[in-house]
């Protein structure tokens, strides 16, 4: 474990009781400079996790509650006529000020508002009235959505799903975890008590360090083989895109950095493969009850792990 990251994770764990290492993956995704989709039922701590992560890292945090009447201009900003100057003035939207943007219940808004996020997420800039405004660095979107009560929702199109680096499922806490959550919240919300450990500059330098992790050719081949295996699987309609394979590489590098190594090992790739690729796979209708997770696990079992040779 990288030394400077231990206190950060500890601080997040003060507010968010983590059953299956989700906080670690979120932190990894932040180091990999990728967007995160938290996909789960209401009330399992999606917002708590996002908020505590942004506070610990000392990043500027903005939250948009997506409702059906949120408009694209609320996200990207808009130009308004200014009487005094007699010209148009750009009124920044919510993305301009944020390092971490929490897009809550992203599937509750109209598809055009969802699309307004596309450019911001991919190019990290917004264009309004032909003028391009760069966003803050780092810029991350942590979106949440829940699958329960889908009436009146707009599902994210695949083009946008593909732009999220990881899709995380939190799941219910276990018995001990649930007890701890209730105990912690007897005197106020622990999220308020979270201290800032790092700042924006540190996060950027950590991201650069994660980018510099060594990747041997055998591992590049391994990632490629995994991606091709998803494309050739008989139950899969759409496999992992090249962007998805890049995402696996980025996440694995960040995980290697998080584990305190300056080189990537096959274990990194295997650990991030499911969270990165779970939402990028589209199954054929004939596949029946199989889930993408089952297929990915099967592929991990099947594709030979490199033993260090080229």
């Amino acid at each position: 474990m990288q030394k400077e990251l231990i206190p950060i994770l500890e601080e997040i764990h003060k507010a968010f009781i983590d059953g299956n290492g989700t906080a670690g993956i979120l932190l990894t995704a932040i180091l990999a400079n990728g967007h995160v989709l938290l996909d789960d039922i209401p009330g399992v701590g999606k917002t708590t996790l996002a908020m505590s992560a942004s506070r610990v890292l000392g990043l500027e945090y903005r939250r948009v509650q997506f409702t059906p009447d949120v408009l694209p201009s609320d996200i990207t900003g808009f130009s308004m006529y200014d009487k005094q100057s007699g010209g148009f003035v750009y009124m920044p939207g919510v993305v301009t000020a944020a390092n971490i943007l929490l897009a809550d219940e992203i599937n509750r808004t109209s598809s055009k508002t969802q699309s307004a996020l596309l450019e911001a997420m991919e190019e990290r800039q917004v264009t309004v009235d032909g003028q391009t405004h760069p966003l803050k660095n780092p810029f991350l979107v942590i979106a949440t959505q829940n699958r329960v009560g889908t009436a009146g929702t707009q599902q994210l199109p695949f083009a946008q799903l593909d732009r999220f680096l990881v899709c995380l499922k939190l799941g219910y806490p276990d018995f001990e975890g649930q007890m701890e959550i209730i105990r912690d919240r007897q005197n106020g919300n622990p999220v308020d008590a979270i201290k800032q450990i790092a700042d924006c500059g540190q996060v950027l330098s950590m991201q650069n360090a994660a980018q510099a992790v060594t990747v041997k050719d055998s591992l590049v081949a391994y990632i490629t083989r995994l991606a091709i295996a998803t494309r050739e699987h008989s139950d899969v309609e759409l496999g992992i895109s090249p962007r998805g394979a890049l995402g696996v590489n980025r996440m694995a590098k960040a995980l290697a950095y998080l584990s305190g190594r300056d080189y990537m090992i096959p274990g990194d790739v295997r650990n991030v493969f499911l969270p990165v690729c779970g939402h990028r796979i589209l199954l054929k209708q004939e596949s029946g009850q199989t889930t993408p997770e089952q297929i990915l696990t099967e592929i991990l079992e099947k594709v030979p792990v490199p033993d260090g040779e080229k």
Partner: protein, 691 residues
């Protein structure tokens, strides 16, 4: 089932025939015992069936009570065996009757009978109705010769519902649902307005909504636009129409693991090879071309081993055919000697058996201990063959036994008792090993010492058996004679006389091939024949020794090669390239752990935690993790490794070996020792180092 029974009966009769022929020739207690055993064993073994049939209960269970048409329904056959009496196999016929359409299909299956057996099967029905599954079962004995019907067992019913489109196709989340369907029906209009099927003029009865008003304005007529029909969202009626043209009926599949089949195949191969050897041996003996038999044996041995070892079914078949051809050729070659047909052949047969008796009598009185040894060896052969058969429980394993007995019979009849016995032993042991090796249960490090041991014992026995002095003297004499023959171009008769100077043999060897002469002059024939037998025996022993020595030499050469490779491998532990040395050390560790029971599949080495803690103790796990960490650093990082890390790795390796040694039993220690001496380490490092 009937086919199988028939085959078994035929095999049994063939075996009985062989046994009686052997007895006819041998006419001693051993062959009689073999004959009696083969006649009596199957009926005796079938007796318990009478009592076992009440103790077996079989039921067919379905996982669901209802199923849609064309969907696969899984079911289980659950067979429970109680009671004391053994029954070997169970045959079941599963009848499936559709009460609505009156279709009846049956599926036959058989399985070995254990205390609790479960077989799964799948049922797919093309039409709706009620399926009634009834199960009728029979038990069979160990040899598969007798069957016994079990009183009717309970079945079950399954209701097959008509095909319906499940509603959740439409209510699924779009995130997991499909993108727009690309294929539309070419023949029918549908409901999907994103695609146009056709535009036509309005006819009475069309809904007003379907009128295309813009087109109607342009054309001045009322036009109607029909929508497309996506194929995968067809209504249930469409699917039914398609299904009606191809009646799939009902299909049943019973799962069976493939590795069982492989071993079964090997056994079949060995069995038929042994049978061929037996038959070929008898034919050759009857025809008097015993020298051919000794050429034949190694050829058959090699071919059957090749057939058993080769991967694909096709090549196995070729090897098998070659085997058959060799034996057939030998048989034809032998029979060519009887130009006058069967009459002389039969005469000769009886005379030969008389000669045999006289010769054997002579032999036994000369060295009295031989007969005890024969019986001991025969018993050993039988025990090994039974073990061989019982060790790998296959469809009818005991059918591997007759060929071995048959071999024993013919070999003993040939008169080279200890040598023949040991050949049999090696053959049986080899078959046993083969079965296990093919099954993936044994590694070369286990069976190599065993093989060497058996071969060594064979040579020692051959060299020390009572008749050996005589035979060896004879061999050396005949070799010397060969030399003399080359130099002096002496005739065959003189050689014969020289070979057997103590015995009075006035007749020459050529006369022995002439059957008619032999009948006329039996005394002379016996004498001549005795000489031939001794000659043949000498040739046989020579060939045998040559064969075994070759075998041993190949083995030794192979082991030497291995040892050299291992030495080269170990030299790498001290190579100046630290990362390379660490890789080699780690490979060695994993190879040793594999011998100790680590099963490596497609996994990262760090993921074997649970298995490692099972192999070693939990407190050794950190050591292993350290080793994996070091290896990963050596392989996947760019920076070079330090000398300290190499020593650390070496320490971990030594510690782990100590722990393994402390835990290992005697057998495991032998295996580890074998590995450390001759072991082979896979992976590409080895090849790289060789270059």
């Amino acid at each position: 089932m009937k086919k199988q029974l028939f085959r078994n009966w035929i095999l049994w009769f063939a075996w009985l025939l062989m046994a009686s022929v052997t007895h006819l020739f041998g006419n001693n207690a051993a062959t009689l015992a073999v004959l009696l055993a083969s006649v009596l064993t199957p009926p005796i073994l079938a007796l318990p069936l009478l009592f076992a049939k009440h103790a077996v209960k079989s039921t067919a269970l379905m996982t669901q009570k209802t199923v849609c048409a064309d969907e696969t329904l899984r079911g289980f056959l659950r067979i429970r065996r109680g009671g004391f009496f053994p029954a070997h196999r169970l045959f079941c016929v599963l009848h499936c009757e559709n009460r609505l359409t009156c279709e009846v299909t049956a599926q036959r299956e058989s399985c070995g009978l254990h205390k609790n057996t479960e077989m799964s099967f799948c049922v797919t029905a093309a039409h709706h109705g009620q399926l009634k599954l009834t199960l009728s079962t029979c038990l069979s004995d160990l040899f598969g010769l007798f069957v016994r019907r079990i009183p009717k067992q309970s079945g079950c019913t399954v209701t097959v519902l008509p095909k319906s489109l499940s509603t959740d196709v439409f209510s699924q989340d779009d995130a997991t649902a499909q993108p727009e369907n690309e294929t539309y029906s070419q023949t029918r209009p549908g409901f999907d307005f994103s695609e146009t099927y056709a535009i036509r003029e309005y006819v009475n009865g069309d809904p007003v909504r379907s009128i295309h008003w813009k087109l109607s304005q342009k054309t001045d007529r009322l036009m109607v636009r029909e929508y497309g029909l996506p194929i995968s969202r067809q209504s249930p009626d469409d699917k039914d129409m398609v299904a009606d043209s191809t009646v799939t009926g009902l299909s049943l599949q019973v799962s069976d693991s493939t590795d069982k089949r492989i071993v079964h195949r090997i056994f079949r191969l060995l069995l038929s090879a042994a049978l061929l050897v037996g038959i070929g041996g008898s034919i050759l003996h009857m025809t008097g071309r015993m020298d051919l038999w000794w050429v034949l044996l190694p050829a058959v041995y090699i071919l059957s081993v090749c057939a058993a070892f080769c991967r694909s079914k096709k090549t196995a078949l070729w090897f098998h055919m070659a085997l058959g051809a060799v034996l057939l050729l030998a048989g034809v070659f032998g029979f060519r000697q009887f130009a006058d047909g069967g009459g002389t052949f039969l005469n000769r047969l009886f005379v030969a058996s008389e000669t045999r008796q006289a010769y054997l009598y002579d032999r036994f009185t000369a060295s009295g201990s031989d007969s005890g040894l024969i019986f001991f060896l025969l018993l050993l052969c039988i025990i090994i063959a039974v073990l061989c058969a019982a060790g790998v429980r296959r469809k009818n394993p005991l059918f591997a036994l007759p060929p071995f007995l048959l071999l024993a019979g013919t070999q003993i009849y040939l008169g080279v008792f200890p040598g023949a016995g040991w050949i049999l032993l090696t053959f049986a042991a080899f078959a046993l090993l083969l079965a296990f090796v093919q099954n993936g249960k044994l590694k070369p490090t286990v069976y190599m010492p065993f093989l060497i041991l058996v071969t060594l014992i064979t040579v020692v026995t051959l060299a020390t058996y009572p008749g050996a002095n005589k035979t060896l003297a004879f061999v050396s004499e005949s070799i010397r004679d060969r030399f003399d023959e080359k130099i002096t171009t002496s005739a065959l008769e003189t050689q014969n006389i020289q070979v057997n100077p103590t015995k009075i043999q006035p007749d020459n060897a050529e006369e022995s091939t002439d059957g008619a002469d032999a009948v006329k002059k039996p005394e002379g024939f016996v004498g001549a024949h005795l000489g031939t037998i001794q000659q043949i025996e000498a040739l046989a022993v020579r060939l045998l020794i040559l064969f075994i020595v070759m075998h041993l030499l190949v083995l030794l050469g192979w082991l030497g090669h291995r040892r050299l490779q291992m030495k080269k491998y170990r030299a790498r532990f001290h190579s100046p390239d630290t990362a390379f040395a660490i890789k080699a050390l780690f490979d060695y560790l994993i190879a040793e752990l594999k011998i100790f029971g680590l099963i490596t599949a497609n996994k990262d080495y760090s993921e074997y935690g649970g298995q490692i803690t099972q192999l070693l103790k939990a407190e050794h796990f950190p050591d292993y993790q350290n080793a994996v960490g070091l290896w990963q650093e050596a392989v996947f990082s760019d920076h070079s490794m330090t000398e300290q890390q190499r020593t650390e790795m070496q320490n971990i390796l030594n510690d782990t070996f100590k722990k393994i040694d402390a835990q290992a039993g005697v057998g495991m220690r032998c295996r580890l020792m074998m590995f450390r001496l001759f072991g082979k380490i896979g992976g590409k490092h080895a090849k790289k180092a060789m270059l």
